[in-house]
Amino acid sequence: MAKRFSIRQQTGFTAIAAACFVLLYVPIAVLVAYAFNESTSVSEWGGFSLRWFAAAWNNDQVIDASLRSLKIASSAAVIATIAATMAALATTRTRAYRGLTFKYAFINQPLMVPEIVTGVALLIFFAQIKIATGYSGLGYLIAAHTAFCIPFAYLPIRARLENMDLTLERAAADLYATPWKAFRRVTLPLLWPGIIAGLMLAFVISLDDVVITEFVKSGGQDTLPTYMLGQIRRGITPEVNAISTVFLLLSVVIVTLFFFLSRKRD
């Protein structure tokens, strides 16, 4: 008797799935494990210790790069979220018109253009501005991060707006709320979960960036990821594992929060 055909049960599916999980999680598990290694090797176990966490904590360069990362990520996330909120309002609180799809594509452009292209383009562009103005602060990095964070902030906010019942805004207007008051008192409070989700997603994306940062940063402007990249070139100690582990923890916490917020319905 032939077995009933099921799309879920096909030869090799389990093996492929298992291979993917191994590839995804085993290296991370190993990396985290060796963060607690007593010895200086990232491949030979020498007993449990927290010494590399302490080493990272006492490394001024790590702290400096971390603070810079946080500064850039929080500024870029806030600016990108404000821009994304306005963009989402403009693209959802309107009738469909010719060119609206083009506008979506335009806003989401950073998702499509290869990062390396954006990196090179910004490098050349900012170089000109640097010459013209003489300014060489963190502004360039913040601006660059803001640009590529916008689509990540935009998507959850737009999703939230599209799911929102438009009659609520109409009801507010019916009850004598001016458009601004209707926005402040009804739209915005209902939009908050989307905005927070967008903010966190943008924050994580900025924190994680290497390619564009590498191109745009001036000397002494290492972020945590570019610092780690530089360290690895010089030879690896479990200190990198320790930093990675903390970094991982931070990302997981933020992404989990994002997940719960974006699932929250009224």
């Binding site: 009801a171 019916d174 009850l175 709320a177 409070p189």
Partner: protein, 375 residues
């Protein structure tokens, strides 16, 4: 137009017998070119102050569109809407002293019941003490005092309905618009809310414009009804007028059950006509306003305005079916000229005669029972 200092909402003193709303030649067209739809096709109607006025018609006939134009969420393609004699075209929704009870209720999910009810007054910039007092009053009016602090997601559908009503009534609008407010409720709750709505309208003295596609609801609740079909208002009148004196086939058909009979007009005098039915019987029938005689006519007779009898009667036929409904019985009769006719008999104890399928019967048509249609 007197302008209220707070939000520019206009305040008009109530004068009995006036028209609260006058809709003059309003057209509303959606789409362009080939895909154009006239949701409202030159509608004119006056709604009196303190009236419970109902827009009745099947789904898609333009009821919601008319309410939206009055509320200001959309604008007429043509024509004008007057509120107490003033054209409201220049006023955005938030400046119109008109409130809406939405079909979906549209309660603010992030606010409590009390905050929802107070929202309109708050937007009008009323002092806190006045808002609180009015909210308490409204909670009492809709019997929701105990649930004031609840979130709107934590109350039942019927309770949400009451909150939506209280929220719309709290700012004391000149006109309250209700878009099929009871359609989401189950039968028993709907009956309760019908009575509740009548009471609220009576107690507040606010003009209600009520939308429904339920003819029974319209008949039991309204002071006057406008029957709509395909973007037009076909007839406006009291429930009695609409039911007893339908002027058009659609009105007669949409409201209640009805018998249509073809007839020839013999003579006309003082709003009544003598007509000859196909069977040769001659009866007297009421003419509608604006009737243009051309010899032929359709006569409508409500099933309960006719009586089946064993012998005699104005017309006769054979019983095809007898359906028992508890309070009454419907007798379906095939007339000798081939048309069908339904008679409704009360099932009072000891009253009426019982009939059987295949039995020959006569039908007595009451003096005032027959009505001639315009079309």
């Amino acid at each position: 137009m007197k302008v209220d200092g707070n939000n520019g909402a206009i305040c008009v003193p109530a004068t009995p017998g006036k028209n609260a709303i006058e809709v003059r030649g309003v057209r509303k067209v959606f789409g362009t070119g080939e895909a154009q739809v006239a949701a409202l096709d030159t509608v004119s109607v006056s709604i009196r102050e303190n009236e419970f006025f109902t827009l009745l018609g099947p789904s898609g006939c333009g009821k919601t569109t008319l309410l939206r134009l009055i509320a200001g969420f959309d604008f007429p393609s043509d024509g004008e809407i007057m509120l107490y004699g003033e054209d409201i075209a220049p006023l955005p929704p938030f400046k119109r002293p008109v409130n809406t009870v939405f079909q979906s209720y549209a309660l603010f999910p992030h606010m409590t019941v009390a905050q929802n009810i107070g929202f309109g007054l708050e937007m009008l910039g009323k002092p806190r003490a006045e808002i609180d007092a009015r909210v308490a009053e409204m909670l009492k009016l809709v019997r929701m005092e105990k649930l004031a602090k609840r979130r709107t997601s934590q109350i039942s559908g019927g309770q949400q309905q009451r909150v939506a009503l209280a929220r719309a009534l709290a700012p004391q609008p000149k006109v309250l618009l209700l878009d099929e407010p009871l359609s989401a409720l189950d039968y028993k709750l709907r009956k309760e809310m019908q009575i509740e709505l009548k009471r609220l309208q009576h107690e507040t003295g606010i003009t209600f414009i009520f939308v429904t596609h339920d003819q029974e609801e319209a008949l039991t609740m309204s002071d006057r009804i406008a029957v709509m079909s395909s973007g037009k208002i076909l007839q406006v009148g009291s429930p009695r007028d609409i039911y007893d004196r339908p002027a058009e086939r659609f009105v007669a058909d949409f409201i209640g059950e009805t018998n249509f009979l073809d007839a020839r007009i013999d003579s006309i005098e003082e709003g009544r006509a003598k007509v000859t039915l196909k069977s040769g019987a001659t009866i007297s029938a009421t003419l509608p306003d604006g009737f243009k005689p051309d010899g032929e006519a359709t006569v409508v007779i409500r099933p309960e305005h006719a009586k089946a009898v064993k012998d005699g009667g104005d017309i006769s036929g054979v019983v095809e079916n007898v359906v028992y409904f508890g309070t009454d019985t419907h007798v379906h009769i095939r007339l000798d000229d081939g048309e069908t006719f339904t008679v409704r008999q009360q099932n009072a104890r000891g009253a009426g005669t019982s009939f059987e399928r295949g039995q020959r019967v006569g039908i007595v048509i009451g003096d005032d029972a027959a009505q001639i249609l315009k079309d």
